[in-house]
Amino acid sequence: MSNRVLMKGNEAIAEAAIRAGCRHYFGYPITPQTEIMHYMALRMPEVNGVMVQAESEVAAINMVYGAAAAGARVMTTSSSPGISLKQEGFSYIAGAELPAVVVNIVRAGPGLGGILPAQGDYFQATKGGGHGDYRNVVLAPASVQELYELTVEAFNIADRYRVLTMILGDGTLGQMMEPVLFRDEEPVESFDKSWATTGTQGRREHNTIQSIYIEPDALERLNSNLQAKYRRIAEREVRVETVNCDGAEIILTAFGTCSRICKNVIRQAAEIGIKVGLVRPITLWPFPDQAIAAAAGQPSVKALLDIELNAGQMVEDVRLAVNGTRPVHFHGRTGGNLPTQQEILDKIQVLARS
């Protein structure tokens, strides 16, 4: 194909994975991300890869666990209720320190919910829906181009640190079509996988992959090592975009689809004389608290306004980052509804006048 292609977000994710060297995909249908699996069903055989439609999302994440243990670059994708099912698997992947990529195309919840976009899985993704002390790296793309680039990057981060890396998209991003400019070649770094269970081939001692440590000291050592790893990731892998923040009166915080709406609001606000900036986290974990604190700490800033497709999740981390130096307000929509630019502008006007 040519390098510039009009693609659906879901398809861009799938193509990105293949270009990143992923040859094993395990999935299960759920709206609004099933196109990823359809694309893989056609494309994986073309590259001699494997696509298995598992019997459930639970089975799929355990297939990912096995394939990752065997040293492969592997991915599964799902949407909110399916991601809930995978939480035990995430905890096992964290405890066994396996690299894996998971995509959540978030839909509205809770429960069976709706099939329209939402951001209600932020807590689940960043605070851990699975048991125990662990973290997943969470990336939040805001365009189809970013879905492609961050999916490729997710495989590198996963292998670099032996950590589960999640792409937290939403139904809008998964379904929208935008032009994607592909790189000629993806830089696939090589990573040492001598720990993987590939069969000893008579050349080494046998490897085991497990996450159970009955001795408390041994398990505490694992936990200390994991925390040290997460600190390294937090030092090196924060990604954030700031727009128009210098000297702004109101700082918006938003990720994914909401950030696109906010970028339009910045222009509208300028037209009526209010300087509005945006801090857009691209990594939700590790969270860009320093960038938010820096933007909020400017003398010009009156308040922050956090915009999400949920009842208020990332706003808690924004408040922690701001640490009481400025008021942090929230505006959210749920159920699959999106906020209009006017709603957000109305709130900005109230805050700017106060």
Partner: protein, 251 residues
């Protein structure tokens, strides 16, 4: 002139088993390990440990091992085998792991004809968690969650996994054996070898269900427990081949 005719197998790491005295998991581990060694496939084998009494048998088998979440071993094995199709992959699972929480995974791995071997150890009770009723607990059998004896009206009926999976076309070899006598142990080893041969020949999914004892949770001494397999278990779980009788694997 004497000759050593029975040695410890190099298929086991030699670490002493933590299982109860007389628990026949130990026999089954040894049979699998001996087979891997005798077929010279130890170096290309990757096994999957379950959750249950044998949760840590990754410490006992001298090959690469991956420990799986409860019930998910067939899915984990699927992931491994799809990455390394030339490897030999087996799962080792108990009756809770395979027949309760893992029912979907075993059915679908078998239906897909995943080229793996599953060794299903049926001792009619949950051992590790101290003796609860299993899907394979016999009617009338007393357990910590059927203290008055399993009643069909209250707790339903036991599940015959081998017969059930034998309806699936992808499951090309299914046999039920027992390890409660030397004769049965020898037959069990032949079945284990056949299962690995089936995988080597890429024919499809193979499972050996192995009737095993749990002296501790049956409340019996080890020898009485061996006898209970003949007295009670085989009446519900007859030994025999349910699929793949005609498959010849040679030596």
């Amino acid at each position: 002139m004497e000759e050593k005719i029975f040695s410890r197998t190099r298929g086991l790491t030699g670490k002493p088993f933590h299982y109860c005295p007389g628990c026949t998991h130990g026999i089954i581990h040894r049979l699998i390990a001996e087979t891997l060694s005798e077929m010279d496939i130890l170096d290309v084998t990757i096994g999957v440990s379950p959750v249950g009494c044998t949760y840590n048998n990754y410490e006992y088998f001298a090959c690469d091992m991956v420990q799986a979440a409860h019930g998910r071993a067939p899915a984990v094995a699927t992931g491994i085998k799809r990455v390394h199709p030339d490897s030999m992959v087996f799962t080792y699972q108990g009756d809770g792991d395979l027949a309760a929480i893992g029912t979907a995974e075993i059915v679908h791995a078998a239906a897909r004809g995943e080229k793996i071997c599953t060794f299903f150890v049926n001792n009619a009770v949950y051992g590790m968690t101290s003796g609860q009723m299993a899907p394979t607990t016999l009617l009338g059998q007393k357990t910590t969650t059927s203290p008055l004896g399993r009643s069909a009206a209250v707790q339903g009926y036991p599940i015959n996994v081998s017969e059930m999976l034998a309806t699936l076309q992808g499951a090309v070899y299914i046999e039920r054996v027992a390890v409660n006598s030397v004769r049965n142990i020898n037959r069990a080893k032949q079945a284990i070898r056949k299962a690995f041969k089936v995988q080597q020949a890429n024919l499809g999914f193979a499972m050996v269900e192995i009737l095993s004892t749990c002296p501790t949770n049956w409340g019996k001494d080890p020898v009485s427990a061996l006898k209970w397999i003949d007295e009670a278990m085989v009446k519900q779980y007859p030994l025999g081949v349910f699929r793949g009788q005609e498959i010849e694997v040679g030596d």
